[in-house]
C-alpha cells in the first residue's frame, strides 16, 4: 500500500485496505485534533487550499488539520480576488500552485476538475468537491463516524434521507456503503429520488421508501441531508416535503437505542434542535471527525506516517 504521492480524487479508487489504514491513522490523530497532544510531523510542509466555491467546514477543517500537525497553509476561498478571474485556465493555476506547495486541496464548480488538477500537479491532490461529482473526504469522515460507532459496516441498516438527487455526498456514500455490505434504505420525496445511474453502481439493490415511519425501528444510521428550497417550484410544496423528512424526538422514540443521527451540515430544520441533546445525535461528532480524517490523509499522502 503506497500512500505517498497518492491523489485522493474519488472514493472509488480507495480499496478497503486503504480505507482501514486511513482510519487507523485517523484514530491516532484524535488527541492531536482535540489539542490534547502536540505534533510537528508536518513541520516545513505547505498545504494549498484552492476553494473556487465557498465552503466553511471543509476548508477550515483541512486548515486546522495542517496546523495541528505543524504545517503551513496557503490558499484562497474567493477566486474573484485572484488572477483566475482574469481567465487563466485551471491547468495553469494548478501548475503554478504546485510549485509553491507540497499538497493541494481543491474545490471547484466543474465536475472532473480535481482529476485535471491531479494530472497537472506533481504533488498529491485531494478533491474537496467537484461540482455534482465527488467529495471523497466527506465520504471518508462519514464512514469513519459509522465505523467508530459500530465497528463494522456490514449488515448495518442505513437510511439515506432527504435530497438524494442533487446531494453529492449521498452518492459516493451509498456507493461505498454498498461495497462494504450495508443495507441501504433510500428515503426521499419523489422529486428528489436517487438517480438511476447511481443506483446501478450499487452492489445490492437499495430499498426505496417514501415514509420514515415504515423503517424507523430497524434503522442503525439516519443519514439526513438538506432539502433545498430552490429545488421546488412551489414553496408550499417545499414546506410540506421538508416537514415529512425531518427528524424529531418523537420519531426517534421509536428508534433503536443504539441508532445514530448524522448530517453533513449545514442543517436547516431537517433535524429539530431538540434532537441535539439525545444520545442519538452524532452530527457534531461527525463534523469534528473531519479533522482527524483529514490529518490522516495529509500525513499519508505526504508520506510521513
Amino acid at each position: 500500500m503506497m500512500f505517498k504521492g497518492k491523489d485522493i480524487v474519488s472514493i472509488k479508487e480507495l480499496s478497503k485496505k486503504e480505507i482501514d489504514r486511513i482510519f487507523e491513522v485517523a484514530e491516532e490523530m484524535i488527541p492531536i485534533a482535540r489539542g490534547e497532544k502536540k505534533s510537528e510531523i508536518l513541520r516545513g510542509y505547505v498545504l494549498a487550499t484552492l476553494f473556487f466555491e465557498p465552503s466553511t467546514r471543509t476548508r477550515l477543517s483541512f486548515e486546522t488539520a495542517m496546523h495541528r500537525l505543524g504545517g503551513g497553509v496557503i490558499g484562497f476561498s474567493n477566486p474573484k480576488a485572484t488572477s483566475i478571474s482574469k481567465g487563466e485556465t485551471l491547468a495553469d493555476t494548478i501548475r503554478i500552485i504546485d510549485l509553491y506547495s507540497d499538497v493541494i486541496v481543491i474545490r471547484h464548480p466543474y465536475e472532473g476538475s480535481a482529476r485535471l488538477a491531479a494530472e497537472f500537479a506533481q504533488h498529491p491532490v485531494i478533491n474537496a468537491g467537484d461540482g455534482a461529482g465527488q467529495h471523497p473526504t466527506q465520504t471518508l469522515l462519514d464512514l469513519f463516524t459509522m465505523t467508530r460507532e459500530f465497528g463494522d459496516i456490514k449488515g448495518l441498516n442505513i437510511a439515506l434521507i432527504g435530497d438524494l438527487k442533487y446531494g453529492r455526498t449521498v452518492h459516493s456514500l451509498a456507493y461505498i456503503l454498498s461495497e462494504l455490505g450495508a443495507n441501504i434504505y433510500l428515503v426521499s420525496p419523489p422529486l428528489l429520488r436517487m438517480p438511476k445511474h447511481i443506483i446501478r453502481e450499487l452492489k445490492s439493490r437499495p430499498v426505496e421508501v417514501d415514509n420514515l415511519d415504515d423503517i424507523v425501528e430497524e434503522v442503525d444510521v439516519f443519514y439526513v441531508t438538506r432539502i433545498q428550497k430552490e429545488r421546488f417550484p412551489d414553496p408550499t410544496e417545499y414546506r410540506k416535503v421538508a416537514g415529512t423528512y425531518s427528524i424529531t424526538e418523537k420519531l426517534l422514540s421509536k428508534a433503536k437505542k443504539s441508532a445514530i443521527v448524522m448530517h453533513p451540515l449545514p442543517r436547516v430544520g431537517e433535524i429539530a434542535t431538540e434532537v441535539d441533546k439525545l444520545p442519538h445525535a452524532r452530527y457534531f461528532q461527525q463534523a469534528f471527525n473531519g479533522v482527524p480524517v483529514r490529518m490522516a490523509l495529509l500525513s499519508l499522502v505526504l508520506g510521513v506516517v
Binding site: T89, A91, H108, Y110, E111, G112, R115, L116, G131, H197
Partner: protein, 155 residues
C-alpha cells in the same frame, strides 16, 4: 452472391468498402468520415441490403483510406462493420472494426459541467464500461454515456 445481383453498384478500382454496417447507420458513417459535398471521388451507399446475417448497409468510397482514429469512430457507430481495402478491383485486406478499451479524443463528454468542456488543455477520455450495449464513462466527470448519445458526440 445475393448482394452482387441486387446491387447495381459500380466496382471501384481503389478504395474502401465498409461492409456489414447496422441498418440505417450508413449516413452516420459518412458523416463521421466528413464525407459531404464534393470530395473529388465517388461514393456509393447501399441501405437495407440483404446479407447472410439479415439486413445491412454498405458504403463504398473510392480513393480513400482510413486512419486508426477513423476506424475507432466507425466502431462506435457500426460495431459490426468490416472495412475492406480494395486495390486494383480486389479485396486485399479485411479489417473488422473493434471498440477500443479506452476512447481518447474522438468523443466529447455530454455533461456541460464537465471540466473537459471548459477550454482546459485536455483531451476527452472515456473508459469502456460495456461493449454490448456500448456504455462509456468519462474519465473526468465519471458520467456514463450510451448508444445514441455517444454517436451524437463524436468529434
Amino acid at each position: 452472391m445475393d448482394e452482387e445481383k441486387t446491387l447495381k453498384v459500380q466496382k471501384i478500382k481503389n478504395g474502401i468498402v465498409i461492409d456489414h454496417i447496422p441498418c440505417g447507420r450508413a449516413l452516420k458513417v459518412l458523416k463521421i468520415l466528413n464525407i459531404e459535398g464534393d470530395i473529388g471521388s465517388s461514393v456509393s451507399i447501399a441501405m437495407h441490403v440483404r446479407s447472410r446475417y439479415g439486413w445491412k448497409d454498405i458504403v463504398k468510397i473510392e480513393d480513400r483510406y482510413l486512419e486508426e482514429k477513423e476506424l475507432d469512430k466507425i466502431a462506435l457507430v457500426a460495431p459490426t462493420a468490416t472495412v475492406n481495402i480494395i486495390k486494383n478491383y480486389e479485396v486485399v485486406r479485411k479489417h473488422k472494426v473493434q471498440v477500443p478499451d479506452k476512447i481518447v479524443g474522438i468523443v466529447r463528454c455530454t455533461n456541460p459541467r464537465c471540466i473537459t468542456n471548459q477550454n482546459e488543455p485536455l483531451t476527452p477520455e472515456f473508459y469502456v464500461i460495456s461493449k454490448e450495449p456500448l456504455i462509456i464513462k468519462c474519465k473526468y466527470c465519471e458520467r456514463d454515456m450510451e448508444s445514441e448519445e455517444i454517436i451524437e458526440n463524436i468529434i
